[in-house]
Structure formats: C-alpha cells, structure tokens
C-alpha cells in the first residue's frame, strides 16, 4: 500500500510555515476583536453597500454556485473523495487529511463564539465566514498533498492559481449575497490559513516521525518547494 513516501519539509520551510501560521493566527484574532467591537463597521458598510448596488440578475446564480463550493456539505465530501484518491499512494496521509477537514469544520464553527455579531442580513454568527475558512483549508491542504506526493510543478502551479481564484470567488460571493461583512471574509481567510498551515506542520511532523521509525526518510532539506 504505502509504496510512495511523501516528501517532508526542510527545517527552514517549517520555520517559514510556522511564522506564516502565527501571523495568520494573530490576524484572525485582531480581526475578531475588530468585529466584536465594530471598529471598522463604516468601511465594511461601504463595501457592503457597493456590493449590493452591483447585484444583477445574471450574477445571482454564479455567485450562489461559488458560495455553495465553500459549503461544508460540499467540502467535506470533497475532502473524503480526495482522501480516497490519496489513500492509494499513502493511507496515513489520507486519513490525516480527512481528519484535518473534519477538524477545520469544527474549528470554523467554534471560532464563531469569538465575536458575537449579526450578518448584514441580520442573522447571527457573522464572524468568521465558515465558507471562506473551509475553502482556504481545502486549497492549502490540496496544495500540500500535491507537493508532498511530488506532483509535476506545472500541475502544482495550476492548482495554486485555481485555488487562489476559488478562495477569492467564494469570499466575494459571501459579501455579494449579503451573508457576510468584508471583515468576516478576511477573518475566514486568516483563520483558515492559520488552521491549514498548523495542520500541514502536524502532518509533516507525523510523516517525519514515521519515516524516522522506518529509518528511510529522505534527508531534510533535500527537496525544494
């Protein structure tokens, strides 16, 4: 089964990811505080007003589809499917990815207790946008898997570009559909990034530990990003 050994991160790569994860985590909590105390509400209202003014019939369906792509009911089955595909190459990695997906769904919903805030459509639980949080985690983990399983650079570049477009599209659709303020979407990006990078670091640690046990891990730093 576990014929292919996934790549592991080098020490400098781990340091960079850790720094980025911490920065994203701090940004997430700062944005949560801004949302809780309504600090940037004027700017957010301005964005919301512009987004609602731009609503047009032909954009409704595409935006709903984009928003739907960030839904847990889409992302969790997609993560399960991805896990199935990865399990052919590395079963433990696949299991960890699915666990990370479930963990992301739980954390995104628990994070909503940080800021008690109404959405623009007055429904509760605005911060952070769980759709954006979920899609960021999904994209980052997908990129990590492609890198770890040594997918060709062209495919990784394509996945990176598609992932960025997807994140922006889901975030934009949430503001467009009047479901979130801009700060909620930015919080979703920051929180999702922090969670996904932390998950990547944990996964990498587990892979290195497993490789060390087998005594067959590649030397650290032998691979590029």
């Amino acid at each position: 089964m576990n014929a292919a050994r996934p790549r592991v991160l080098s020490a400098p790569q781990r340091r960079r990811l850790l720094t980025l994860a911490l920065a994203a985590g701090v940004a997430f909590f700062v944005l949560a505080a801004l949302a809780e105390f309504g600090v940037a509400i004027e700017a957010e209202w301005w964005v919301q007003h512009a987004a609602q003014a731009a609503r047009a019939g032909e954009l409704e369906m595409p935006m709903r589809i984009m928003s739907w792509l960030g839904d847990g009911w889409v992302l969790l089955p997609a993560a399960g499917l991805g896990g199935l595909l990865v399990s052919r190459r590395h079963a433990a990695l696949a299991r960890s990815l699915v666990a990370a997906g479930i963990g992301a769904a739980a954390v995104a919903n628990l994070a909503k207790y940080l800021a008690i805030r109404q959405r623009p459509n007055t429904v509760m639980w605005a911060y952070p946008s769980a759709h954006t949080f979920g899609i960021v985690v999904f994209v980052v983990l997908l990129l990590y898997v492609l890198w770890a399983l040594e997918a060709p650079p062209s495919r990784r570049a394509l996945a990176l570009a598609a992932g960025c477009v997807l994140v922006v599209a889901v975030g934009t659709s949430r503001v467009y559909l009047n479901a979130h303020w801009l700060g909620d979407v930015l919080g979703g990006v920051a929180g999702g990034l922090a969670f996904a990078l932390a998950a990547v670091l944990v996964l990498d640690r587990r892979l290195r530990a497993a490789a060390a046990v087998r005594g067959a891990a590649r030397p650290l730093g032998a691979v590029g990003g």
């Binding site: 209202w45 609602q52 047009a56 409704e60 207790y113 008690i116 109404q118 007055t122």
Partner: protein
C-alpha cells in the same frame, strides 16, 4: 439599473418594492445602515415602512440554542478570568447581543447596540454617586463612634436613599436598554422621567407594607403601566390599559391557596398577571395575546432552578433559552403592524441607571 433586493436577493426590483418578499428596498437598506450605527443616530428615516401582505397573527421567534449561549458563556468566563473581572461588562453585552440577534419578527432579527464600555462607565458612575457615599455613611459613624441618635438617623437616611435609588435605577436601566435595541434599523426608546416613577414606587412600597401586601397587584400594575406606556418603537408609542384592581381577585385567591398548595398558587397568579399585562398592551392597532398557564410556568421555573442548582450553574444557558422560547411561544401579535409612518426617533441614554441596577445586583426585569 434595477437594484437587487437586499433581503431575499431577488435580482431586479423595479419600483423599490421587492415582488418576492414585499420589502421596500430603500427603507430596508436605510434600516440596515441604521442597524449598525451607534446611539447617535437620531436622524429620521421618513420613508414609509414596507406594507407587506402580512398575516393577521404574528409570532416572535427565538432561533438561539443552549449550545450557542453556552459557547458564548464559556468564552466570557475565560476572558473575565483573564482580565480579572473587567471583561464582565463586555460579557453582559455579548449575551444581550446574542439574545436579541436570535429573536425574530416577520423575518427580521432584533439588534442590540450597547457596548461593554458604556456599561463600564455607567458602573463607575454608579460607584461614585451611590456606592462610595453609602459606604462612607455606613463606615464613618462606626469609626468615629458617633452617638446612637446620629447612627439611627443615618440608617433612616440610607433606607430613604435606597428607596429613591431603586426606582431611579429601574427607569435608567429601562431607558438604556430600550435605547440600544432596534428592529429593522428603527430604535426603541423609553421616555418616562424618573420623578413620576419615584412617586409610584415610594407610594406603592409604603402602601404595600401598610396593607400587608394587599396593595401589591395595584402597585405592580402601576409599575407596568409606567414602563410600557412610556416605551416607543421609533416614533410610535406602546400603550397599556390595565387597572390594578383587575388583579386583586386572583391575588386574593392566590393568598388563600398559598399555604394549602405549599406556595404553588403563586405560579398561577404569576401566569395570570403575565397574561393580563401582555393582553393589556397595545402598539397602534396591534394587540398582544398571551396563553401562559400556571402549570407549565410552575414546571418551567421550578425545573430551571433545579437544573441550575444541580448543575452548579452549567445549565444556566439552557434555562435562559427555554424560558425565552416558552415566553415567545405563548405570545402572539394580533392585528396589523401598521409600520407606515413610523420613523426613526432615537433617544440618547446614559448607562448609569444600568450601572446602579448592577450595583444593587438587581435585573428588575425591565
């Protein structure tokens, strides 16, 4: 370009009124804007409110859950501990924001705009104006060994001050809380003065004592009448038409049955009082109906107390949520809402009354 409905998302609203959900777009957008404004928003929104093809009977709904409130309380407890208690005021605000934000009428949620900072400032003012002088008047005579006559005079003075401060705190808390509530962006307000309420409160307290409690139904009805008939939603006021003597008979029956029923008759009176107060309240052409019965109310309140005691407070969120659901489930709004002509008429209010209420450790249910 035709605008999309900001409420239901209908893509092209031609004449400012959404054909799908009947909302008036300009008013709704203005409402959303006001929803997020601070307490200074006093400008009027002169546009008429949406005249939906509304049902004759409406119901308030609570969408919150015990789990949601528990999560908020868990974060609140953690932050209150970490800040050595300072976060308490923000915690209170977060709970109110949640409860309001999960309460819905006609598809729109209520909103709470109060801030923790306001409560903190109100509390600090309450400490300076009430707590410190009271503490000094209590402690100084003991320290300086004042003569007994002076001590007893000071005790009487403090009792009198307490009798005056309670109604002031009740009115202040009511004014503050209503001024921070809104629905569809229109603020509630309370415009009753403290002085007339002090009269009602002092006279009511004295007469209730002198009549061994028999004046109580009249007293609580007068209090309710004052609190309701000075409340406004935007520019329209609420009305209350109750008379205290209507509750006298149920009160006497309750007193007679109090001992034989081991106090349970109180719940039947409380349910009767609640029904009476609700049904005597009017908002324009809208009447309120209440169907709370004594048995379910007794079960609710007794089981709530048991749940809190047996769980060492952990089930407090559950008791809050079920109490709210219980009250809203038994409350109906009859008749047209007639929102046309209601316009924003927000009033500023300091949180000092709220601070005094906090110092007296009393919620007052207002």
């Amino acid at each position: 370009m035709a605008e999309a409905c900001p409420r239901c998302g209908y893509p092209a609203v031609a004449d400012d009124k959404c054909p799908q959900c009947n909302v008036v777009v300009s008013l709704y957008q203005a409402s959303l804007e006001k929803l997020r404004r601070g307490p200074v928003a006093a400008a009027s929104v002169a546009e008429p409110a949406p005249p939906p093809a509304a049902p004759a009977v409406r119901r308030l709904r609570f969408h919150g859950s015990a789990m949601g409130l528990f999560g908020i309380q868990a974060i609140n407890a953690l932050l209150t501990l970490l800040t050595l208690g300072v976060f308490y005021f923000w915690a209170k605000t977060r709970v109110r924001r949640y409860v309001m934000g999960e309460t819905e009428l006609e598809g729109d949620r209520f909103a709470y705009h109060g801030t923790g900072r306001e409560l903190l400032v109100g509390f600090a003012k309450g400490v300076v104006v009430f707590f410190i002088p009271t503490a000094l008047l209590t402690i100084l005579p003991e320290i300086y060994q004042a003569p007994p006559e002076i001590r007893s005079s000071l005790r009487s003075l403090l009792w009198l001050v307490g009798l005056l401060v309670v109604p002031v705190a009740m009115v202040g808390a009511r004014r503050y809380r209503l001024s921070r509530m809104s629905w569809r962006g229109i603020r509630f307000s309370f415009r009753g003065g403290a002085r007339p309420f002090i009269g009602i409160f002092v006279v009511g307290t004295i007469l209730t004592s002198l009549t061994l409690g028999l004046y109580y139904p009249v007293f609580v009805t007068q209090r309710q009448a004052f609190m309701v008939s000075h409340a406004y939603f935007g520019s329209r006021k609420f009305d209350f038409e109750g008379r205290g003597r209507d509750l006298l008979k149920p009160f006497l029956v309750m007193l007679l049955l109090f001992v034989p029923t081991l106090g349970l008759s109180w719940f039947w009176f409380a349910a009767r009082r609640q029904r009476y107060f609700t049904e005597r309240t009017r908002f324009g052409a809208t009447r309120f109906r209440c169907s709370i019965a004594g048995g379910p109310l007794a079960w609710l309140q007794i089981s709530n107390v048991l749940a809190i005691v047996l769980s060492v407070g952990l089930l407090w969120p559950w008791t809050v949520v079920r109490s709210l659901e219980f009250t809203l489930r038994h409350t109906l709004l009859h008749g047209p809402l007639e929102l046309e002509g209601i316009h924003q008429d927000a009033r500023g209010a300091s949180a000092m009354g709220e601070g005094l209420a906090g110092l007296l450790d009393a919620d007052f249910g207002v």
